[in-house]
C-alpha cells in the first residue's frame, strides 16, 4: 500500500493578523509557521495505517519554498513516520490559487500512483476547503471530505463523514482521497531521536517543469484585504446580584438588541 499525505504550512492559530500601510497589505513576515492542524490528522492516520499494514510507504507532499517548509516536513511528517517527502518549490506558484495548487499536486500524485491520499479538511489560513476535493476530481478518483473515522479493507474504504447534526457513512473503492477532520485520531508528537533520524530520510525538491505541469493562471483576483468590522464597547452588568443581572440581561437582549 502506498499513501500520499498532502500537507501545508500555516501561521499557528494564536497568530494575530495585521494589515499594514495604506494598501492594507497582509504582513506575513513575522508569522510562526506550523503544520496545518488538520493535516496533522492526515499524517497520523497514514502512520496508523502503516503500523497495521507493514510495508506501507508514506510520502508527504507539499508546495512552498524548500528552506521554509523543510523543518515542518522533517519534524511533523518524517519524524512521526512518513518515509519521504516531496516539495514542489517553484516561484511561479507564489501567486497560485486553490485551482492552481490542485493541478500541481495532482501532477505530483500522478508520478506516485498512490492507493490512498490523505489531506486536512481545510487549511486554517485560507479556510477554502477546496484543494483536496479538486485534486480528487482532477485525478478522477473518489473522495470523502470531513472524515472522523476511516476503515480500510479489501481495496475499499468505509468513512464516517461529519454533516449537520450527525454523520454520513460513505463507502468507496481505492484509490481515493480523504480529507481529515478533528476527531479522526490524536496526532502523536515526534520524539527527539526520531527528529534526528528524520534528517536522513529523502526529501526531493522539484519544480513545475520537472512535474511536467504549467503553473496555471488564477481563477480570481484578490482586490483587497480588510480588517473585520470593529465592535462597539461592551455594556457590562455587575454580577454581584445574579438575579438582577440575569433580569437586566434578558431585558436588554429583548428590548435593545431584539435577539430573543
Amino acid at each position: 500500500m502506498k499513501i500520499a499525505v498532502l500537507v501545508k504550512q500555516v501561521p499557528d492559530s494564536e497568530t494575530r493578523i495585521q494589515l499594514s500601510g495604506p494598501a492594507q497589505k497582509l504582513d506575513d513576515s513575522k508569522f510562526t509557521r506550523v503544520l496545518n492542524p488538520y493535516d496533522a490528522y492526515a499524517v497520523e492516520e497514514a502512520v496508523r495505517i502503516k503500523e497495521r499494514a507493514p510495508g506501507t510507504e508514506i510520502v508527504a507532499i507539499t508546495i512552498g519554498a524548500a528552506d521554509r517548509v523543510r523543518e515542518t516536513l522533517k519534524k511533523d511528517c518524517l519524524a512521526v513516520g512518513c518515509d519521504r517527502a516531496i516539495v514542489v518549490a517553484d516561484p511561479a506558484l507564489a501567486d497560485a490559487d486553490e485551482a492552481g495548487i490542485a493541478v500541481v499536486l495532482a501532477a505530483a500524485l500522478r508520478q506516485e500512483a498512490c492507493d490512498l491520499i490523505l489531506a486536512g479538511k481545510q487549511a486554517i489560513d485560507d479556510d477554502a476547503a477546496q484543494v483536496g476535493v479538486r485534486v480528487a476530481e482532477i485525478l478522477g478518483i473518489a473522495h470523502v471530505a470531513v472524515v472522523t473515522k476511516l476503515d480500510l479493507a479489501d481495496g475499499a474504504l468505509t468513512a464516517q463523514r461529519e454533516i449537520e447534526g450527525g454523520v454520513e457513512i460513505v463507502q468507496a473503492k481505492l484509490p481515493a482521497l480523504i480529507t481529515c477532520q478533528k476527531g479522526l485520531n490524536e496526532p502523536r508528537l515526534p520524539s527527539l531521536p526520531n527528529i534526528m533520524k528524520a534528517s536522513a530520510k529523502p526529501m526531493r525538491v522539484v519544480t513545475c517543469a520537472e512535474l511536467g505541469v504549467e503553473p496555471p493562471a488564477r481563477t480570481y483576483d484578490v482586490k483587497r484585504y480588510a480588517p473585520p468590522p470593529s465592535r462597539a464597547a461592551c455594556k457590562v452588568i455587575a454580577g454581584d446580584d445574579p438575579a438582577a443581572a440575569a433580569a437586566e440581561l434578558a431585558r436588554l437582549l429583548r428590548e435593545e438588541a431584539k435577539v430573543i
Binding site: 479556510d127 476530481e137 429583548r254
Partner: protein, 325 residues
Amino acid sequence: MPNIAVFIEQRDGQVKKVAWQMISEARRLVDQAGGEVWGVCLHAAPCDAAHQAGAHGAHRLFTAEHELFKLYDSAAWATAVAAFARAKRPDLLMVGATALGKDLAPKLAQKLGAACVSDSIAVKWDGNAWEVRRPIFAGKCYVDVVPRTSPAVVGVRPNAFALSEGRGGAAAAESFDPGVASLTPLARVTEVQAAAGRKVELTEAETIVSGGRGIKGPEHYHLIEELAAVLGAAAGASRAVVDAGWVPHSHQVGQTGKTVSPNLYIACGISGAIQHLAGMSSSKCIVAINKDPNAPIFKVADYGITGDLFAILPLLQREVEKLKS
C-alpha cells in the same frame, strides 16, 4: 445578462434555509445588475420548491429528478449542477456553505474550470464585475476577490444574507437533464446517522450558547444545554472543553472548529483565546458571562455580566422562559 443560479439544497424534501437566504440576496443583486435569479434543485421525489423560491425572489426554478439524488453523491450531484451550468450559463452559481455544499462547490468548480470562492459573506455588483467578500484566518481578516471565470461558484455562509419574503408568485418551473444516466458512482453514502441529542446545528443556528473552561467539568455542561434549549439555540464549546474530552469535537467553535455567525452568541466561562474569537466574532450580538472582568471575551462582547455563571445561568434561563411564555 448576469444571471445568478442558486443551488437549493434539500434533504427528504426539507430545504436548507440558506437556499432562501441566497435567493433573497441574489434577487437584490440582479435588481441592480439586470438578469434573473434561477433556483436549481436536485431531488429523488417530487419537491415543491417553486412557490417558496418565487416568494423569496427567484424568477425560474430548474429541477432534475433521479434516484441518485436521494442521498448525497458528490460525483452525481456535481455532474448534474455542472450540466445545468453548461446549458444555461449563469454568471454566478451560489451554493450554501453547508456540509453538502462545501463538498459540492469545489467539485463543481473543478468540473467547470471555474473559480470557487468559499464561505462568502457578501457579494457586490460594481457595474462590470462581481466582488465577493470572505473571511480568512477564521475571520481575523476579510478578503475581497473578483472572479475571472464565468460561471464562478460562490459558497455562501448560512445566515450571512437576510431573508426577504413575499417577492412574487411561484417561480416558473422546468426540468433539466442532469446527465447522470451513465454515471458510475465513485463513493456511495450507505447510511445517515443522526447524533443523539443534537437538535440545532451550530453552523446554521440563529442563537448559540457556548461553554468554556469556566464550567469546570462535563457534569456542568447541562447548564449550557438547558439555556440553549429554552432559546432554541445550538450548544457550543471552546477548544479547551473539547480537548479535555468534556464534549464531542463537533461542538467546537473557533479556528480549529466551526466558524459561526449567529444573531446571538452567549459565551459562558470562555476567556476568549484568539483562536476562539476568530470563530465567533462575526456574530451579530455577543454576550459574555465570565468571572474575570479582564477576560478578552469582553473586548468583542456587546453585553457582559462579570459574575458566577453557576448562579447566573439558571436565573437567565428562567428569565428567558418568562419572556417566551
